[in-house]
């Protein structure tokens, strides 16, 4: 059972890392528009110089 004293802090660190990753994703705007980026995959043309999408 002593292993729990190591494993539980480890899960907590993992959870914290998950939260941090999600915060980063939200702050970089990945959840702002859930519709249009889906269409980009269907576009087989090279992105032209002006139309580049930036996060």
């Amino acid at each position: 059972m002593e292993i729990l004293y190591v494993l539980i802090p480890l899960t907590l660190i993992l959870v914290a890392a998950g939260c941090w990753a999600f915060f980063w994703a939200v702050d970089s705007g990945q959840f702002d528009d859930l519709d249009s980026p889906g269409w980009d995959a269907l576009d087989d043309r090279e992105p032209n110089s002006g139309g580049a999408r930036e996060g």
């Binding site: 059972m1 729990l4 004293y5 539980i8 899960t11 907590l12 959870v15 998950g18 939260c19 999600f22 915060f23 939200v26 702050d27 959840f31 702002d32 528009d33 859930l34 519709d35 249009s36 889906g38 269409w39 269907l42 576009d43 032209n48 110089s49 002006g50 139309g51 580049a52 999408r53 930036e54």
Partner: protein, 822 residues
């Protein structure tokens, strides 16, 4: 929607073709279009290699505006300067794009604008209808960008940094983060709780050291859940404490904080109950409900909705003899501005010239316009419903007028419907009862069984939260407002929906709401030796160069390669011209007959129509019947309303014969012609005194008082700013038949709001005594309270439209043609 395929429709905007013979070249095919505007846009899209758009789109494309475009006001250098932010490397602009309806639209704009030289970044957010565009500094591309977007049929509006969408975006982001923290935290704490519960079930007890350890970890995880994820509730509770008011967040927070303090105490004391699982679960559900509420609210305030409340960016400043457009922010004390009819007063001041009626409803709530004359004070934000006036500016708000306007906007948006205010008042009373009850429950249990006192008090505080009760009506209203906005119907006052549900009489004010207001070709009777097509082509060629309103009836016709030369226009009579060496005349019959000296042919009579004749040197070729065309769905509108048990009548200022003809064709039995606004007003009052609830459909320009008097006012069209501000409901789609659908939605909304109120009321009143008697443990209370809120929200969500997979028909041939050409 089922009639979409029945009649030929425009390839671009999916409106009925209405007799148009125009086509647009898309890839290798010719597709029918309804007007030169759609033709130009479709060919431009195809010509730029963007025809994929037609495969991708899920909603019909906007019909390009033919009138003077509103966006051109933004091109004035001074105005543009206020919106274009200049950086060292790039200049950028934020645009709010009207009609941006689906991701494909965003893709189209991104491609088209991205193709402009110097443009570096095009970032489109289709969800919010926003675009962020950057281009090389100093490369003045602003005008070209605006023009390109407008040419695609969208209306671009530059916005300053402080827009609601930006606020929404930030709000959504922070809510998402809080939600994720609550979710992760709840999962962790629940894991430890389950360990304890399962040991208890087996009749054993968990190892005390391990239990203590679990409790410490749970405490650690609960801290961010409660103080980060739950922070909005705690902050609201603190605010209501300071203002000595009662809010729902107060009982929620009281329960949360009490449970947390007790649990922490017990953790360190090493005995007694801990409630960390209940706390985290409660915060999780509360955040979930708030998140859903936020999404519903944001969907509701769609781009179009935001624009309907958007005030103009420019003012007409008088400088010497000239009038120039300047951004509102540049107005200074002492300036003189002209406020045209239908415009919004840009700054506080007093009238120096002119007399008018001002609608100050945005400021005072007074719906009737008030008379203002020279020397009278006027307030910014009020709307000039009368004649143009000149105003001397005395104040431009506390800082700038723009920020002042933003405040006005906010105030207008946060105005709560009366039903909601009533529900909130009831909720406040109920909350006081709950607080008192929890004290009583606590005292009673302390006397009876001190062990259970804390749990019972906690349960009462949590279970009795009237959250569901107070979101019952607003959730339903928000959802149906969003639904209607998708159908091109903007609801400017949510409470109008409640009134609309009870409507039993509709007055069509002005025939203009049932007709298009533009002259159209109603009939073509061939009387000579030429075919119908030839006659139409000749007429179209002759009329092509004319600016007369009648010419617009022929504008959509193909000229089949014919060009008219030596054109002579005889005002009031007609046009004469030469085509392929032959002379033709088109105009009133006597004028056409002059060319050949033959008697005038007379044909079937149309009461509301004018006829013109096309003739050559030998004979009369064709008789054209022109009329102000009925909107094609007007009869359907009246019919559908009748099916809902709603009477229609026409109350028009027009002449009786025209009104009678339109009433006959729409199937309206009751109509009144040549009514003055006063007579219209008294008719509305008369109906209301008979107990009828009246909806008034107008064009919103000159009939503001009549619209204001009706129970619900509905404006048709994309008209002046005034029309948008004066009416409760605006039909951007310009389809009268949408009215029946709106009434149905309103009735369904009222029904769902009633269901919600009933459910929430039942829940609260039945759960409270049970909790007080100690039958509900705190975790069940948290679950019950959250479930009732979720139920209410989900019930309201039924009002939202279901996404249909593909609303726009693209024939298989078109698809293949496009796929091969691309």
């Amino acid at each position: 929607m089922s009639d979409r395929h029945d009649e030929p429709r425009c390839f671009h905007c999916q409106e009925p073709l209405a007799g148009s013979t125009l086509t647009a070249r898309i890839g290798t095919r010719l597709e029918p279009v309804c007007c030169p505007g759609c033709q130009a846009v479709a060919e431009m899209i195809s010509g730029s290699g963007l025809a994929d758009y037609y495969i991708r789109r899920t909603t019909p494309s906007p019909r390009p505006a033919t009138e003077e475009a509103s966006w051109q006001a933004y091109l004035e250098p001074q105005v543009a300067a206020a919106f274009v932010s200049r950086g060292p490397a790039v200049d950028s602009v934020e645009l709010l794009i009207e009609n941006l309806r689906c991701p494909a639209c965003g893709w189209l704009i991104e491609r088209a604008v991205g193709a402009i030289p110097d443009v570096k970044t095009v970032d489109i957010n289709a969800g919010l209808g926003r675009a962020h565009i950057e281009w090389t500094a100093g490369a003045s591309r602003f005008e070209q960008i605006m023009r390109t977007i407008a040419q695609l049929g969208y209306v671009p509006h530059p916005v300053t940094e402080e827009t609601t969408s930006r606020v929404y975006c930030a709000e959504r982001r922070s809510m998402l983060k809080r939600f994720v923290v609550a979710t992760f935290g709840m999962m962790q704490v629940m894991m430890f709780a389950v360990a304890g519960y399962s040991a208890e079930l087996g009749g054993e007890r968990i190892d005390p050291t391990l239990e203590h350890y679990f409790r410490l970890v749970s405490l650690l995880v609960s801290v961010p859940v409660l103080f980060y994820a739950g922070q909005p509730f705690l902050a609201n509770a603190w605010n209501s404490l300071r203002t000595r008011s009662v809010s729902m967040d107060l009982t929620v927070s009281a329960a949360l904080v009490l449970a947390f303090v007790a649990s922490t105490w017990n953790t360190f004391a090493g005995h007694g109950e801990v409630y960390f699982d209940s706390i985290t679960m409660f915060v999780f559900f509360l955040t979930l409900v708030r998140l859903i509420e936020l999404i519903v609210r944001h969907r509701t305030s769609s781009v179009a909705d935001a624009l309907a409340r958007h005030l103009p960016a420019t003012a007409q400043r008088v400088v010497g003899e000239k009038v120039e457009s300047v951004p509102i922010g540049q107005l200074r004390r002492g300036d003189e501005v002209i406020v045209p009819s239908g415009a919004i007063v840009p700054a506080d001041g007093y009238i120096v010239e002119g007399t008018t009626l001002l609608d100050e409803s945005l400021l005072t709530g007074e719906s009737l316009p008030v008379a203002r004359r020279v020397g009278d004070r006027v307030a910014s934000g009020s709307i000039n419903t009368g004649s143009p006036v000149r105003i001397a500016v005395t104040a431009t708000g506390s800082s700038t007028v723009l920020s002042n306007i933003v405040n006005l906007l906010r105030r207008a948006q946060t105005r709560k419907p009366p039903a909601m205010r009533t529900a909130n008042r009831a909720a406040a009373v109920f909350l006081r009862v709950v607080l008192v009850a929890s004290v009583v429950v606590c005292a009673t249990w302390l006397a009876v069984d001190p062990q259970r006192a804390f749990a019972a008090t906690l349960a009462v505080l949590v279970v009795a939260c009237p959250c569901a009760f107070s979101i019952a009506t607003p959730a339903a209203l928000a959802a149906s407002t969003a639904r209607l906005a998708r159908q091109g119907v903007l609801v400017t006052r949510p409470e109008a929906l409640e009134t609309l549900a009870d409507i039993d009489h509709v007055i069509f004010d002005k025939t203009g709401t049932l007709t298009r207001g533009e002259i159209q070709l109603a009939g073509c009777e061939v009387v000579g030796s030429r075919s119908r097509e030839e006659c139409l082509a000749i007429a179209a060629a002759l009329e092509r160069s004319s600016g007369h309103p009648i010419a617009s009836a022929f504008r959509n016709m193909e000229t089949a390669g014919l060009t008219a030369t030596d054109i002579a226009t005889v005002p009031g009579f007609g046009i004469e011209g030469t085509i392929d060496g032959k002379r033709y005349r088109i105009g009133i019959s006597a004028f056409a007959a002059e060319l050949r000296g033959v008697a005038v042919p007379r044909t079937g009579e149309h009461i509301d129509a004018t006829t013109i004749v096309l003739g050559d040197e030998h004979e009369a070729l064709a008789v054209f019947t022109l009329s102000d065309a009925l909107r094609e769905d007007s009869p359907a509108a009246v019919e559908k309303l009748r099916a809902l048990g709603i009477d229609s009548e026409i109350l028009s200022g027009d002449g009786s014969s025209a009104v009678a003809a339109i009433a006959k064709r729409c199937g309206v039995s009751r109509f009144f012609a040549r009514r003055t606004p006063n007579q219209k007003l008294s008719r509305v009052h008369e109906l209301q005194s008979q107990g009828r609830r009246v909806a008034m459909v107008g064009d919103g320009i000159n009939d503001a008082p009549v619209l204001g008097a009706a129970n619900v006012s509905i404006a048709m069209g994309r008209g002046a700013a005034l029309a948008l501000a004066a009416a409760d409901v605006i039909f951007v789609s310009e389809r009268p038949s949408a009215l029946a659908g709106v009434v149905r939605t309103a009735r369904r909304t009222a029904q769902i709001a009633r269901q919600n109120l009933l459910w929430a009321g039942l829940y609260n009143f039945s759960a409270l005594p049970l909790a007080a008697l100690g039958y509900i443990p705190p975790w069940a209370a948290a679950l019950g309270m959250s479930a009732s809120s979720l139920f209410v929200l989900l019930n309201a969500l039924r009002l939202l439209p279901r996404e249909s997979a593909r609303k726009v028909s693209v024939t298989r041939e078109t698809r293949t043609a496009l796929a091969t050409s691309a």
